[in-house]
């Protein structure tokens, strides 16, 4: 089960790399290529040493030995082993965005994002330490105060990564003063409702629309706490004036409750939803539908 999931995501990554390689303007793609080359080089160097020739490279994650395929990031390798590293903007099907910083780990004593750092043989990675979980809890509290999150009335409750992660990290209060930002709701589309009050700026909808749907319906624009938001590709700024469809990958990718199908409220009762059944740390290899 795990293996096949990995293969699928590895294939997806390879496909993505190929697609991106055709577009020279996408600077970050070749980052991948370069690091992949570097890792391949490293692998070759290792292969020349007979003693290690048959060994798969490994690193230590909270004391547990994790093997990895050269080119994998830390979080990819951990996920392949069913080990949970908290995250919000990372999704196994897509290239890392690196913005939520929830997956921050300590690599050989230094902070780094596990979704963008390549796994390297022999590294020591701290993940679920008190220090790191404290920082993650603060980041979660930042999310809860910068947006308008009302779990009890949210259709995504029980299926929401933000909520599930907050349970996992035992966040009991938002701690900071709420910002109560003024964010728009877009109900223009016949089949889809957009409630930006819940947006965590992960950009997954942007990526899915661009790379899977080939539509570029969304773009993350603007600057700073008040300015940064999803821009919609129409002059009116309304979803109805785009070619967005409820069957798009982007329509089902949102980890929180921004992009919701209309007329399907509470089809699955609260208590029987994804994270009601098992906590998020035990659903690691699953891909969000």
């Amino acid at each position: 089960m795990k293996t096949s999931d990995n293969e699928v995501s590895a294939q997806a990554n390879a496909r993505e790399a190929r697609v991106k390689a055709d577009r020279p303007a996408e600077a970050k793609t070749s980052d991948n290529e370069v690091s992949a080359q570097a890792n391949a080089r490293e692998a070759r160097v290792k292969a020349d040493r007979p003693a290690e020739a048959k060994e798969t490279p490994t690193f230590l994650l909270d004391g547990e030995e994790i093997s990895f395929t050269p080119g994998q990031t830390i979080i990819q390798a951990a996920t392949a082993h069913g080990v949970y590293i908290p995250h919000l903007c990372w999704h196994p099907e897509f290239k890392a965005h690196g913005s939520c910083k929830m997956c921050t780990v300590k690599v050989n004593g230094r902070f780094g994002s596990s979704c963008t750092m390549a796994a390297q043989a022999g590294m020591t990675v701290e993940n679920r330490t008190t220090e790191l979980d404290d920082k993650r809890r603060t980041l979660l509290q930042m999310y809860f105060v910068e947006g308008n999150h009302f779990c009890p009335s949210c259709e995504k409750s029980g299926n929401c990564s933000l909520q599930a992660t907050a349970y996992e990290l035992k966040m009991v209060s938002p701690h900071f003063d709420m910002f109560y930002p003024d964010r728009a709701v877009d109900a223009s589309h016949p089949d889809i409702l957009l409630d930006f009050n819940r947006c965590i700026m992960c950009s997954l909808c942007v990526t899915a629309s661009r790379e899977v749907d080939g539509k570029n319906v969304f773009s993350m624009g603007g600057r700073g706490l008040l300015g940064r938001r999803i821009h919609i590709s129409s002059e009116s700024g309304k979803l109805a004036d785009t070619d967005f469809a409820a069957t798009d990958r982007a329509a089902s990718i949102c980890p929180v409750g921004v992009i919701l199908p209309k007329r399907k409220g509470f089809a699955i009762p609260i208590g029987e939803r994804k994270y009601d059944k098992l906590p998020i740390n035990r659903q690691v290899t699953e891909v969000t539908p």
Binding site: P24, A25, E26, A27, K28, T29, S30, D31, V34, S35, A96, G98, S99, C100, K101, M102, T104, F111, S113, T116, K135, T138, L139, M142, Y143, V145, E146, F176, D177, F179, M201, N216, V217, F218, S219, M220, G221, G222, R223, G224, L225, G227, R228, I230, H231, I232, S233, S234, E235, S236, G237
Partner: protein, 626 residues
Amino acid sequence: MSDNRTIDAVLERHGRDGTHLVQILREIQEQLNWLSPATLTRIADGVGWPRAQVSGTAAFYSFFHTRQRGKYCVLWSDNITDRMLGNTDLMDAMCKKLWLEPGRVSEDGLVSVNTTSCTGMCDQGPALLVNYRAVTGMTLQRVDEMAELIRRETPVAEWPADWFAVQDNVRRAEILLAGNFAPGSALRAAHQRAEVDGLSASNNRSFRESLPQGIAGPMAMLDEIQRSRLRGRGGAGFSTRFKWEACRNAPLRADQERIVVCNADEGEPGTFKDRVLLTSYADLVFEGMTVAAYAVGATRGFLYLRGEYRYLLEPLQAVLERRRAAGLLGKRILDIPGARFDIEIHLGAGAYVCGEESALIESLEGKPGRPRVRPPFPVTNGYLDQPTIVNNVETFASAALVALHGGDWFAAIGTKQSTGTKILSVSGDVARPGLYEYAYGVTVRQVLADCGATDTLAVQISGPSGMCLADDEFDRKIAFEDVPTAGAFMVFNTSRDMFEVARNFSHFFAHESCGFCTPCRVGTTLVRNIMDKIANRHGSPYDINELFKLHRLMQGASHCGLGNTACNPVFDTLNKFRPAYEHRLLSLDYEPAFDLDAALSEARQMTGRDDAGAHFAAHSPDEAKA
């Protein structure tokens, strides 16, 4: 000309190339005053980019207006040095004259007045931008006159020319500011170090592995840079030789070329040396860029000029034109076969984060200035994925002198680890603000004496993201090994309140955070709010602890240097000037975040009651007695 024809003309001039988007948006806005939804659609269609990407980019930069703006847009520079020169009162006076609320466009659509981040005129403030043209030395009289000109709708081009005069204020010169540089001399010197030369072989994989004919000159140049031990002047102090060599050795794919970028996005508040270098020493800077191109084998160059220095665009283009005519830029530089290099100027549009090299490259590519995930670094994967060096203006100027006089000459100046000179932008409580060039190793005390500072309480070095030094540290040296700096040197005397300094900087970072990563996007605003809470006398020791906690989180978890350093001024002043915070705290014990009794005042007003029972009695003297 109709709007559409204006838009199309600009699009045509840029070859409908989306990577020029920031320039396209700026040029169209300069003519149409703002970027309407229809304008953005036409631009998106014209360059063939998703409309959301175009509107998202326009919304990223402070200087782009996606809502109708006033015919006159006045932006007061709001660095702490402008504050100390009284900009707040002047801006209030202007708003009163014009019957305006700050940040709002007047009812008749004539004018808006607001603040902006430091415009780089700290030695001649209070400064402002009017329709993005720099104005210096504001006074109450000028406020009156300016309000009158706005009311009469006199075009900015007809305003008194002396308002737009910008002084160099060079107070102390060593090698860079000496001003005796002959254009072309550095390139000729570099070329003459090798007998057989040319740039044509610049695509060679690694010059250390093989040495074909034709790159002896570039090699010799790199060796001079190595001998000079030149380090980057932007603050980080990275070895220039390592950067250049890595770029030169980076493999090129088909249709790629190497790129030289000069970072003139001088956004760090309190820094204005690059403005002077580009005003009066532009040949030295461009020659340094050309020397770099020669050394690394680059054929294309960019000067990324901050939007606040818009007024320098035409003079700089004239310098480039002159250099082309003199054979110092273009297809056959100094008549060397294959020696091809030219420089384009790209203007920023009000975004401090674009000073970070990968964000700057994103902006050059027509995108929001969002720092990239690194590695890989720009030397291998920079502008449009091509090997790119990004260096500071002053670094290139220094490189030109290394080419001219040799590395050994340069390395003899300064200290062992910090060779050459550093230009300091001195402002604040000093008798003679302006530029001071010193050999590295000069003490802070010496600088203070030279610029006529008395009763000095503190010096903020290298801007808000740098460090704050108290008087027991004034014997420390300006050098990479002691006090590194990008050039800002803001002086505060004993009449100043260091809490207010830090609070000003916290507002700056909250405004300039790009918003990409959570710790910086939310953290900078939380820090700003806590600083405001303390300023409003609602703070308690709890808030001090919160500041430390946020500092620890942002320093470790942020995506780039902006978030990592955003708490530095708060952290430094908390450690060195703690009483400035504590005398504002409501009590040195813990206190509730708000006054419960005051919160009841609205209810009392509504019910018409004001008896004892309508008051929260927790802090009443009666209860204390009971």
